[in-house]
Amino acid sequence: MQRIYAKRLLVGTLILILVLTVLFAVLQGGLPF
């Protein structure tokens, strides 16, 4: 059971990192294209 939760936590962490880093990049540098 805990293994499944751990996998979800990992996926959630990765998604949140990607969203926040892209958001920051857009706010600071504007859209890339």
């Binding site: 936590l9 990992l10 990192i17 926040l20 880093t21 990049a25 600071q28 540098g29 890339p32």
Partner: protein, 454 residues
């Protein structure tokens, strides 16, 4: 604080430690922005370093953390999170190089400024760190050498990376961001000091010694220990401890094993150890009186889960060690609940604790269902593996309202869990201890039977 509340608390701490740098980047006043790709590279680098530093925590075996998370899950989480951190950290310079190939000149450590040299050194140390962890066996690195190397490289990675961001000093010029990294750096350093200095020093003050070494079936030994100069540390049946046998706890060499004895008697504790590697093959030669240091107990694989329900144990081979601890404890408590134990072994002669299981059936309301991979002629019990069909034939009528403890190699656990789910058993009722994969890079395998499930 309740168990669930503690879990939530630690997950919140985890998110804070990972996302604080990004949130501060987003929310605090910040210097002028540059191009999208450059800012993306910086943000990814910050996230990668935060993840990297966080790795010191799950492997520190902090008692208050291992109380709420299974230890094998923590180690597994550490391995997977490290890979993510590795990819993010390497993405940081790669994005910069692609966006502006002129920055490739920073790879020249002879001409590059120190801020870039530190970044390059951090990246090199990181590549070695991951390579030596993933390919340790192929590289023929001994476990002990690998652990020393792992420590040195880990400190080098975060040390050089911190130096890099402070020398670049763009976003760390914001005081709150600077102090955050200082505090996180101190926290990571404290973890290392705790693991390598404080904890061994604590263990040194609580030695144990071997009382007897008993040969069991299936190339297994029971190591019985008694505390020397102290009352012994209480544990819960089914938990795990790291043993340093015959040498100082300051040395890197230590090995995790499940307690196999009853937790009613912490003054005499036992570990069941199967001969699987070069260390475990020497257990039989250990002499009474040998000093042992026990780092533990750890883990949540114990009888605290649903104390009012019936228990069903499912184990393969030496996976019976924590189950024996639980059964012996329940017998000492004169527990009357209905228990079932599905026990898979290669042959009848390999059934570890076979005779004791028979006698435990007299003391407990216990059914033992042996499942033999290679049964002898005339064997009338179950054969093959612990499949859905085997479970269906023997599970008690209230099986959907029982608590399950499953211990053995990961393929066995995954197969058994799939079968139980097909039988409508809730995931939350299953507790597993799968150590082969979880500790793969940190120790020799406890459960190395090639237990492929049908």
């Amino acid at each position: 604080m309740k168990w669930k509340t503690k879990q939530i608390f630690w997950i919140v701490v985890y998110f804070v430690l990972i996302f604080a740098p990004l949130l501060i980047l987003l929310l605090a006043p910040r210097p002028t922005g540059r191009t999208f790709w450059r800012e993306l590279s910086v943000a990814i680098g910050f996230a990668g370093l935060a993840l990297m530093g966080l790795q010191f925590i799950p492997t520190a075996r902090l008692p208050f953390m291992s109380e709420v998370f299974p230890l094998d899950t923590l180690y597994n989480f550490h391995h997977r999170l490290s890979v993510i951190a590795f990819l993010l950290t390497l993405a940081h310079p790669l994005i910069l190089f692609i966006q502006n190939p002129y920055t490739l000149r920073l790879l020249n450590v002879f001409s590059a400024p120190w801020r870039a040299r530190a970044g390059v050194l951090a990246a090199i140390a990181l590549i070695f760190l991951v390579l030596t962890s993933v390919k340790r066996l192929s590289l023929k690195l001994s476990y002990e050498a690998w652990r020393v190397l792992h420590d040195i490289l880990s400190v080098a990675v975060v040390g050089f990376a911190l130096y890099h961001i402070f020398k670049v000093d763009y976003y760390t010029s914001v005081p709150v961001q600077r102090w955050l990294w200082v505090v996180m750096g101190i926290l990571w350093g404290l973890m290392m000091v705790y693991i390598r200095v404080i904890k061994p020093w604590q263990l040194l003050r609580r030695p144990y010694e071997i009382v007897e070494v008993i040969a069991e079936r299936g190339n297994t030994w029971t190591l019985n220990l008694k505390p020397v100069g102290h009352a012994g540390r209480p544990f819960r049946a089914g938990q795990v401890a790291w043993l340093s046998i015959g040498h100082s706890p300051f040395l890197i060499e230590e090995h995790p094993f499940s307690y196999a004895s009853s937790d009613v008697h912490p003054e005499t504790i036992g570990f069941a150890i199967k001969e699987l590697g070069d260390f475990t093959s020497k257990i039989g030669n250990l002499q009474p009186g040998t000093k042992v240091y026990i780092d533990g107990p750890y883990g949540t694989f114990d009888l605290n889960h649903h104390p009012d329900r019936n228990y069903i144990f499912i184990a393969g081979g030496i996976g019976s060690a924590p189950v024996m601890s639980m059964l012996r404890t329940l017998a000492d408590r004169n527990d009357e609940r209905h228990l079932q134990f599905f026990y898979g072994n290669p042959t009848y002669d390999d059934i570890i604790f076979r005779e004791e299981l028979n006698s435990l059936q007299q003391r407990l309301n216990l059914d033992v269902i042996h499942v033999l991979e290679k049964p002898h002629a005339g064997w009338e019990g179950e054969t093959g593996y612990i499949t859905k069909a085997v479970l269906e034939r023997h599970l008690s009528c209230d099986y959907q309202h029982c608590t399950y403890f499953i211990c053995g190699p990961l393929p066995m656990i995954e197969s058994v869990e799939r079968s139980l789910m097909q039988l409508s058993v809730s995931r939350s009722d299953m507790h597993e201890l799968a150590r082969k994969r979880a500790f793969e890079t940190t120790r020799r395998h406890i459960y190395s039977e090639n237990y492929k499930m049908a």
